[in-house]
């Protein structure tokens, strides 16, 4: 077969990488290129250098080293039995591409993943080599995210963490049964074992840096993982439960959800229908509730319906509030921060501002309106100096009053 050009291979290997949800470049140690011989900086805040028409941020050069793979995971477009075009890059080519894009300010760095060729260890070594060229030969100080392979030698995962800002290992599916059925070559014990190993290395390196200023950093932006939603029968309650266990046991920075999208040349084991994209969105919202709003996983699960899934028409916070109406309305001039965070329509920023402002004045509905996006949504759940919802909170049709209006479908739509 004739060797494909760099641009053709970039097309294949970027296309293969687009099912990875994460493109974050934030939360790492501060670095810059002053005093070095290369380029690159990270200043804490991630930067999205472009947005694709799918609304997603392009922050990193997100590619696969190769899309050849010896595994046969049904949900994956690169599985062994799939007919996709295959290509591969050498570590040097990826490093050169990264530097060339970085110089022109197209990207924050590299997100490298790979199909498994020869063996897990061999693949992992190739990925580490790419990061090594960038860090050591080009003295690159931008962001590197390596998707490590759980089946590889822990020593290799450790080396990856020394070069990378973030490492991630995908748990792939929310249930063990799903994993056994759809990813026959993977094993949840092994995946979680590898995540545990990464967590230990991160904790150790952090501790060492407290005592020795020059101790090596290990994945300063932490580790994350990704789950596919809608390829197996797991309900939202299962997924939320799994995610919270992962956050607790492995100190993850993020759990990413990727709505299973029917891939070309799909395996017959998979559902043909894709889950509604909004489901992914609702899961992210519940993730936010747990991380920033102080909800316990069990409380998010209370917001799910009888089938264990979050309602699609309203957000999980509103669903929770409608279920526990006895907690409302809350007096914004008196209620605690924890409780204010539970008012649908009040975000963390608005709550902080309310708490700061109420030291200076007794808030009226008008004042709350200035601090929030939509006062209509908040109104049934709060009391202010000049407002009391009286019967509004108890109305049986409150849900339909607050749920976003459904778009009328066209009768003759294609």
């Amino acid at each position: 077969m004739a060797q494909l050009s760099v641009i053709e291979r970039l097309e294949i290997l970027a296309d293969a990488a687009k099912y990875d949800a994460s493109c974050a470049s934030s939360g790492t140690a501060k670095k810059n290129s002053i005093g070095g011989k290369g380029i690159g900086s990270t200043e804490g805040m991630g930067i999205c250098h472009a947005y694709a028409p799918d609304g997603r941020c392009i922050s990193l050069l997100k590619i696969l080293l190769t899309n050849h793979c010896i595994f046969d995971c049904h949900y994956c477009i690169n599985r062994k039995s799939s007919n996709v075009r295959r290509a591969k890059f050498t570590p040097q080519e990826v490093a050169d591409l990264t530097i060339s894009f970085y110089r022109r300010n197209y990207i924050e760095g590299l997100f490298l993943s790979s199909g498994i060729v020869k063996s897990s260890d061999h693949t992992m070594e190739q990925m580490i080599e790419t990061a090594r060229i960038l860090r050591e030969e080009y003295d690159f100080r931008g962001y590197i995210h390596l998707k490590t392979i759980p089946e590889a030698d822990p020593q290799l995962t450790y080396r990856a963490g020394l070069y990378a800002d973030r490492v991630s290992i995908n748990v792939e599916l929310p249930t063990d049964a799903g994993l056994t059925r759809l990813a026959p070559d993977k094993n949840s014990r092994q995946i979680e074992g590898a995540m545990g190993g990464v967590k230990d290395s991160i904790v150790e390196a952090k501790d060492a840096r407290k005592r020795f200023r020059h101790a090596p950093r290990f994945a300063p932006a932490g580790q994350s993982t990704q789950m596919i939603v809608g390829a197996d029968a797991a309900s939202d309650a299962d997924i939320v439960g799994k995610a919270s266990r992962l956050y607790d046991s492995f100190g993850l920075r993020r759990v990413y959800y990727s709505a299973f999208s029917p891939i070309p040349d799909a395996s017959a084991v998979l559902p043909l229908k894709r889950p509604p994209l909004i489901r992914e969105h609702r899961l992210y919202q519940s993730d936010w509730l747990m991380r920033f709003y102080g909800y316990k996983p069990s409380e998010v699960m209370q917001a799910t319906g009888d089938d264990g899934n979050l309602p699609l028409d309203i957000d999980p916070k509103l669903a929770w509030a409608l279920k526990f109406r006895e907690s409302f309305p809350l007096d914004v001039n008196r209620a605690s921060r924890e409780m204010l965070l539970r008012v649908p329509g009040l975000g963390v920023r608005a709550v902080n501002q309310i708490i700061a402002a109420r030291r200076h004045r007794t808030l009226r509905l008008d004042d709350v309106g200035k601090l929030t996006v939509s006062v209509t949504k908040v109104r049934p759940f709060i009391i202010t100096a000049d407002w009391r919802p009286t019967t509004l909170t108890d109305r049986a049709d409150l849900r339909s009053l607050l749920a976003p209006k459904q778009e009328q479908l066209e009768l003759f739509a294609a």
């Binding site: 097309e11 687009k18 694709a52 004042d367």
Partner: protein, 482 residues
Amino acid sequence: MIPAQRIRADTRYVIQLPEPDDFGFWRERARALVQCDVPPDRIAWVEPGGSGDLFGRGDLRVPSPPADAPQIRVSRRFLQLAKNAALHSDPERFALLYRLLWRHQANGRVMEDKADNDVRRLEDLDRSVRRDSHKMHAFVRFRVVEDEGVEGSGDEHYVAWFEPDHHIVRANAGFFVRRFANMKWSILTPRLSLHWDGETMREGPAAERGDAPSGDPAEDLWRKYYASIFNPARLKVGAMLKEMPRKYWKNMPEAALIPELVAGAQQRESTMVDAGTLEFEERPETLAAIDKAIHACRKCPIGELDNHAVMGEGPQDAALMIVGEQPGDQEDQSGRPFIGPAGQLLDVHLERAGIDRGKAYVTNTVKHFKYVQRGKRRLHQSPNAKEIDTCRWWVESERAIVQPKLLLAMGASAARGMLGKTVSITKARGTPQMLEDGSELWITAHPSYLLRLDGEAREKQERLFDADLAAVAQRLAEMADS
């Protein structure tokens, strides 16, 4: 400066700033004015080029504060925001800053009242300047100046053209220095330009777009990347526009692709929808009508290949219906099911089990031959799940007419064609399943599977196949008796 003693209560001051982003200058003047107790409504702040002389005439000199002037009160939060808000292009910004500074003297905690209009305005200004700076970090696109050194040699010069909304360029020079410390670069803007040679920063005059290079060799790669990383199945143009408004597009090489990508995605989506919503007309009522209809069927891509539809054959009142996967090369040419190598093998085994093929209705799940051309040969390809599900319409129509009591599905495709879901042959074989119309479904391997095996494995599979056929034969006999 005028000694404070001579300040008259009605003097109006006009303060002219040397640069639109000179926060230090404003701070010096504002401090003196507050100390001299000059209220906000008696000061006009004028930036270069601004027509700010609201009072017609005013005193251009700033009074010097008395020696016993009180200390200025100011909160840290105010200073943080003010430094940034001073870069905004709103001509009222310095007046707003002074008004808030003035109010600090009476209430040191004024900044905490988030519902106050001045505080909110200051926060808005700060937010839009931060956003503008952030977008500058993100959307500046360097282009290499050709003929000035080879890429990677360290001599080449990278130049960007950028049009910010606010006076943020000077304040953000540090970001680009930290990031590209060892690169020679320039950022050109309509107000000023920055030049970094790897060691020192130099400021230059306003520039024009034409001063920057018009292209870059890496842009083709970047555009290819941009187009490939985009997932057309999840078009969200609104979300993109919110973060990357059109005003930035003209200076971003990848943005030229957006209209094409959006149009392509909609097209792709609609072809997917077309493929997804199959509209069949009413079910044909005779086998002849089905035969005619399948020849014209183009509901899936197999129908578009160079092939012929192959209709099932056998008595219309058969008790047994045998269903295979799809016609092969020979079947396609002759137009009859199961006459190729697999068909011949099937005949042998049917005879062994005592089943008369002539009394059975023999057909396929998929009506057309799916293949890939390899030289002169047409190599068989298994139909995918979608194609099987599409073609179910026809085999279901045949079932509705023939109404067999027993169905024998051979192979995974045939099983899917009957059940609508994929089952494992190993698990499903040997035990019948009741279908909705009351008929019994038996599942076994496809004879072509036996053809691909040899030695012990083949013997074993042939035994299993025979056992399945024997069970079917016995069941048929039972059904005939009852």
